[in-house]
Symmetry: C2
Amino acid sequence: MSKIRRFSIGNPINTEAVVQKVPIEKGELPYFERIQQMELKSDGDAQETMVQRDELWYRMGQEDRIYGLGENVRGINKRGWIYESNCSDDPNHTEEKRSLYGAHNFFVVNGAQTFGMFIDYPGKLVLDMGYERMDEIRIMPQDWNLDLYILEGDTVLDIVKGFRKLIGRSYIPPKWAFGFGQSRWGYQTKEDIRTVVRGYRKNQIPLDMVYLDIDYMEEFKDFTVNQQRFPDFPAFVEEMKREHIHLVPIIDAGVKIEEGYDVYEEGVKEGYFCKDQSGKEFVGAVWPGKVHFPDVLNREARKWFGRNYKSLLDQGIEGFWNDMNEPAIFYSEQNLEGVVKKLKSMKCQNMDMWEIFEFRDQVNELANNPEDYQSFYHNMEGKSIRHDKVHNLYGFGMTRAAGEAFEELEPDKRILIFSRSSYIGMHRYGGIWMGDNKSWWSHLLLNLKMLPSLNMCGFLYTGADLGGFGADTTEDLLLRWMALGIFTPLMRNHAALGTREQECYQFTRKEAFRNLIGVRYGLTPYLYSEYMKAALRDEMMFLPLAFVYPEDEYAKDVEDQLLVGESIMIAPVYTQNARGRYVYLPEPMKLVRLASMEQIQTEVLEQGHYYIETPLEEVVFFIRPEKIVPYTQPGQYLEETEEKELKLLHFVTKSAEYELYQDDGYSKDYENPAHVKKLHVKAE
Amino acid sequence: MSKIRRFSIGNPINTEAVVQKVPIEKGELPYFERIQQMELKSDGDAQETMVQRDELWYRMGQEDRIYGLGENVRGINKRGWIYESNCSDDPNHTEEKRSLYGAHNFFVVNGAQTFGMFIDYPGKLVLDMGYERMDEIRIMPQDWNLDLYILEGDTVLDIVKGFRKLIGRSYIPPKWAFGFGQSRWGYQTKEDIRTVVRGYRKNQIPLDMVYLDIDYMEEFKDFTVNQQRFPDFPAFVEEMKREHIHLVPIIDAGVKIEEGYDVYEEGVKEGYFCKDQSGKEFVGAVWPGKVHFPDVLNREARKWFGRNYKSLLDQGIEGFWNDMNEPAIFYSEQNLEGVVKKLKSMKCQNMDMWEIFEFRDQVNELANNPEDYQSFYHNMEGKSIRHDKVHNLYGFGMTRAAGEAFEELEPDKRILIFSRSSYIGMHRYGGIWMGDNKSWWSHLLLNLKMLPSLNMCGFLYTGADLGGFGADTTEDLLLRWMALGIFTPLMRNHAALGTREQECYQFTRKEAFRNLIGVRYGLTPYLYSEYMKAALRDEMMFLPLAFVYPEDEYAKDVEDQLLVGESIMIAPVYTQNARGRYVYLPEPMKLVRLASMEQIQTEVLEQGHYYIETPLEEVVFFIRPEKIVPYTQPGQYLEETEEKELKLLHFVTKSAEYELYQDDGYSKDYENPAHVKKLHVKAE
């Protein structure tokens, strides 16, 4: 059981991250000390300046581990780096980055003392997790208006469960969203989409979704469809549905400024866009050129923005992804003017190194400039609030707009929605994908590491762009990544314009892709059950070994294996040219080796360290003792899969029980007891 | 024994990479097929165009491995990626990069057939090592004027040794260059340097060198010293020598255009700079602003450039590093003019996405622009040759200029020299460092992987910037990196302006740094012996396990352990927060665990897989059976270390012998038999 205490400093903004009302404690904040003093600070080049130090400070024990922080670079154990909650459109997820697209201020310290902390603060927050000094945590908000929740419990899992109850039930997508989807920035026309579907169907590689990136829109205008390239869109949506394919279009945050464009005109008329200091609509630029940003933190504006999804729902669409909602800004009108003026004034004839660097920086810092984030305002409950104070809520607000609208527009049907940017609380309205990753082997491992951290923060429907979004992939990277991706609720292959084409059928080993994705489809009875139980019981679907075997010194350190639900442990290969990898078994397990859903080999292994050979064409996982994995034979799409007979994989020495969750995948009567069937296996 | 055959296509440029004359064979090139045909090629976005395919093509066996290619990203086994030999100043060594600073066109295919290939070609060369199709090698030069060497032998090591003989003996630095050096872009004054030396000496952390980055120069002018910040430089060099510190200044490729600056004026007068098409000196810009590039491919100009090092030798300097010699170009006069004009003509008021991207690209593509490399010329043996045809020779030429000058100016003394850019052949004149890496854990591992590939290509004196050059390091990353760096001949800590200060004494665990670097100093009798023997016998100092245990299926796949010389195997930890790592022992070995050179624990382990715990403060390595590791107690600098008593670590069950190489570390009578002492150990 867990205990939650809330401490309030200053006048926190109500983010609506939490759903339980926790009374504010009057006493001192436990664990942390607030340190306020002037200090000499070096800038790294022998320049020292006096700075005001003002932080929450905690001394770690040598063995302390830190879990959480949701979407971020680095390990499952976050210790040893400095993070910033500052939602950023940055496609280079290298190790030194401090922010990605989300702001997930929940973490658990596990060691000398064990406790959880949630910092409900929507501005930029710096979290030094042992960077400046390896044994200190330092928490530094931009201003001191924040709610702090301290969570305690018997185990890390208790604390996490307590937190998940605090923030409310995770989003549940329709069941078809557990199928495999293909995406690419660059599918220009209906015919491009048909080619993709044909490519999969012809090669009998299962597929349930094709994503529409920005190309489907009319000049990148939200809620429009290009009539030249996608004429009679409803008929095309219908055509795809007959092929058992869902089209999932993207929606961007910025609304194009264009006379006659209804969304723009309505928004201006109703005053639903963010304003600058003078009260005029703030002008940024994104894909369509100049845009206004819908004020999704304003209840009324949010309602209005959400209702716009109706036009696509009416055309048969049942799923969306919300993008560019950090919000990304390529440039702002005011900033661009300044830079162009500056560039023109520079004597560009004999620039020395400092001038050429400034020239370059001027241009490169046009995008996502902190000054721009300080120059527009939201109207929250009648109060004007400068954007940077609530920056991390924007993606949450946009996705909430959609989620709330779907409740109203489609009360009886689940709609797929996931977002790039997020804040805790958004997990109730939609999932997230892990953003614009790269075709790097290191991002396969990062994908794995983010899964439990995201689950801790409520994000269950998630996954990474398999094969990598930016840069050119290779066939082996895609195969290995797929072998992880088949376990993630959101399973999609997505790539950027100009990179190598990476639809599975583009490569030689078509049978391997068919079989790998077939394994995903075959395992959906298990994966869907585990997802639904995790969502309905506020639990994690992906768990670090440390959470399940807290007394096992080896398990605590494992950063490249996960438990997936109650029965399965995975240990994917994430290095090129490797014939296998080391795997640690914290208890006896049954190794399952699948060349396809029809070619299954198993072997019981004792607790210990192993080198497990894993050919490119195989999926390997492990079943825990007295556990069951229900599966079936895959079809070409999920619906076809569901018609097949249910079978069981298991590792049973005495007896085992499994709760299978089955529903129609569309309705919302989640708690209906008829959805849960108990399966039993007894040793013969 | 190895066999070398040479095949010549077209009119190859004489790169002087090889030193043995191999007659040209008339017959067909073995192994490879030349494929010339027109083909439809997709650009990744459904646009297809006809392209001329013209390549050397080889079909790999499924188990084939590819070794070599020197300085590059990715694995020891290079299979599965596409590389380009195209020396590039690119500080982001991410997985998808195809070129780093060097061009090292030697590789060995090991598998169904085993052979080596050296492509002696100084232009841009594309090497598809199983990228487009996993089982094909495709070699694509820009034009068909190249020398091909095919090497065969009984083992991979035979082939490598044959190649090393072909290209001539590797550079040998002075012995003090095996000490530890501290560097930083940002040491501005004498006092900054003194602070660094005091920081090390006060904390008793050994140190032999401080590097001077561009800050020491007068306005970034080669061979000058800033008189305000380094007044009376010879006295300062002398002061440092009394502290047993060698100062090692940087030399850049570009020569500042400035009236009255002797190097500039001489170069213009003698016509020693590269010319544009009209015959005027080509104008690029680097650190000092506008520069000319010395034509180091012209024998006379090279001589002249080399003689300029004399001014610093005369001030007491005994070592240098050559930088920016790809050559890096921030912008060229002509290119900048065009871009500025273009920017001014753009209607910068409402740029859409494509315009803003073009705007950004225009500015970012100013640097190292391929068009610039096509617009200047070298004078090689009287012939004018466009730079791009010989681009990869520039760093070689610059370092050869220095090396040849040192032979003339200091015939009896070794001078330290290493370079950023290189081509095979340059290894005879100097070492290389691994360029502007980052404070990433992945670069620690990349550092390890590059060592054997570089050794194959003749580069023995090498190492990476420990702790990482770009981005902010952490204490644990630096400690772990040091634990690898203590084995690399070039051992230095170097960081970029604006990053976290990372001198060892800046962190808490000063004792750990003292002990780690102490282990390096303690092991120098071994490391120096192994270096000298590798250089004098054309052997590798760092070997993949695959080369030494070719029959061992596990050993073949190991990408994170190396043999260092004949006695030691290393297996450094390269992940954050790890308590240890998996290690494979292909034969019984003695584990050696050192908290310092005085706290040594050993344990004999059988062949097999192990999880080896490795605390942050310890060095762990393994001694092979019947092998000896001579060591000593460390001093605060190398000379002091040499005075200490020699001791032996060993794993002897019967008897072992070791050849210890000892000389004065300065002279060049390398072959003097008195330098080799045989050590014997018999089991008691």
